[in-house]
């Protein structure tokens, strides 16, 4: 019961924050609403007993990425940005698309899909061990999925080299 109530609270936070994030004209306000939305997602992770994802969501997204966002927003000239034309003229079309997609999902869920059972089974299988979520994740990362874990660093390296190269001051 309390789970269901919490789910609705977090879901409302996620969706409401998302909507306010894209509708606020002031970029700082938009960023703060995005934080609220991400907090809601973190709460949803916690409800699913994914403690690791919950922590990562808070530390990385809210702590790291959002602070970076706010830095950038405060460095650029906000007054001119707020006066610029907003690209929100297509909201009727977007609303139509959202209603359509929502209706589609509602229809599929009401009808029931046999495939969804398999997905649930996978989740149940994962709940087995007595170890915590974080321990099992660490086990997997450093044994079976060692290679992707390490290889991602090359991806990050290429991205860093690329962004530094493209953004550095012109020498000539």
């Amino acid at each position: 019961m309390i789970d269901t109530a919490l789910f609705y609270v977090f879901a409302l936070m996620t969706l409401g924050g998302g909507i306010l994030c894209i509708t606020r004209r002031n970029a700082v306000h938009a960023a703060i609403w995005l934080i609220a939305s991400l907090m809601g997602v973190a709460g949803l992770f916690l409800l699913q007993r994914a403690e690791f994802l919950f922590a990562v969501q808070i530390v990385l997204y809210i702590g790291g990425i959002m602070v970076l966002f706010l830095f950038v927003i405060m460095l650029i000239n906000l007054d001119t940005a707020a006066a610029e034309r907003q690209y929100s003229g297509q909201w009727k079309l977007a609303l139509g698309a959202v209603v359509l997609a929502g209706g589609e999902i509602a229809w599929v869920m009401a009808r029931g899909l046999p495939g969804l059972g398999a997905a649930a089974a996978v989740q149940d299988g994962g709940e087995g061990g007595s170890d915590g979520n974080v321990e099992r994740l660490a086990d997997l990362l450093f044994s079976e999925y060692l290679l992707p874990f390490e290889i991602v660093s090359i991806l990050l390296l290429a991205a860093i080299v690329g962004s530094v190269f493209l953004a550095r001051r012109r020498t000539s």
Binding site: G115, A118, L147, I151, L155, G162
Partner: protein, 488 residues
Amino acid sequence: MPASFMPSAQEMMRFLPETLLTLAGVFLMVLEAIMAPENKGRLKAFALFALAAALAAAVIAYNDPGPAFNRLLIIDGFATFFRVLVIGVAILAVLGSSQYLAREGANPGEYWALVLFSVVGQSLMVTSNELIMIFIGLEISSIASYVLAGYLRDDARNSESALKYFLLGSFATGFLLYGVAWIYGLTGTTDLSQIRADLANRDISNSMMMIGAACALMFVGFAFKVSAAPFQVWAPDVYQGAPSPVAAFLSSGPKAAAFAMFLRVFVTAFEPVADRWEPIVWASALVTMIVGNFAALRQTNVKRLMAYSSIAHAGYVMVAVATHSKLGIEAAMFYLAAYALTNLGAFAVITCLVGKGERFVEIKDLAGLGARQPLSAAMLTIFLLSLIGVPLTGGFFGKFYIFKAALDARLIWLTVLGLLNSAVAAYYYLRILVVMYMEEPGDTVENTQEMGGALKFVLVGSAVATLVIGTFPSLLLDVASRYAVLGR
């Protein structure tokens, strides 16, 4: 608890090419920072050396084929063929870039490093046997490509190309990743062999809608990367705006790697639902050929024309994917190798002719090339004939094997329409020939500079290779058919 995390020596051998390339890429950046400016020419030699070593390592790794790192990677014939192909393409691309970079006054250090990282990504794409690895490999290759497309930062066309490529490419990768998540949700695994087993053992009709959605999401991601319709819109803008040698690289290496992973995922993991995805690939192949060829008819910019031509050629390879037979895989391997050679050669001519700041990119700027630069004109003729698919060139046998495979797979209409398409294509390639040999040179004649030794090597080398596989196709086809082994 597992006692040791250390991979065995055998696995390290199978992973040697990627290890070498990564180390070399990192080392290159260190060297770039500490080397005296006058010695920086040696960086290119170092990059070439690293690529040659990786090529050797890729060949050696096949002496002991098999999986590595908990079956995340698999070194089979198919992987080895494409590893050698993408590393070979990178060698030719490095050789074909140095003159251009020097002419534009660009600092080449990071360029070589990014090419090496891109090859690491491509090599992972073709050896991965698992969706997470495929995604990471694709992203490494793509991010390096985005930066390469915008390498001349002061050129607005470069920046436009890089930005479009980055935004659309990230969007397409999102689709792919979403598809991976769906597949994991449905089957509980990301291992291609296990996905295949799971799909083969279950009653597919029950969850067809969700499997279909997952396949469709992944198809969108792959089709974008190989520039197949209706996800081809980015290609002309990106290839036109990117530096010419980068356009050559992007349309040969990363495209071949993307096709390799496309083939591997759809022919191994999604084989049990092949009769469902075949019509989609069928339609996409047809539309890709039509869009590429008919749009190319109206182009006046050479690079844009080559971009549409590359879309059309992706359409022919899609025909091979639609067959999902061993013959089709062989034909696709042959075609991608032949196309990479031809394309790199044709772009080598363009790289030289566009001049400083890429001012001469119109077809009419090629006027009188036959008299001005007989060698370039003769070589470009060979490449264009190969792109048309005239006998005695690699392109002819590429098309021949693909349509033969399509006929064997009873894709008769697709074959007929594909052949009609390649007849349409002859028009715009021949138009270049006519301008080159039969029109008077304009005032752009004197501006073109002499072709450097490395570029000449790429030009003549790929022309000779195109003719050799055109005359003795069995040389390459034997290799392709021996190596068309997908480990399962």
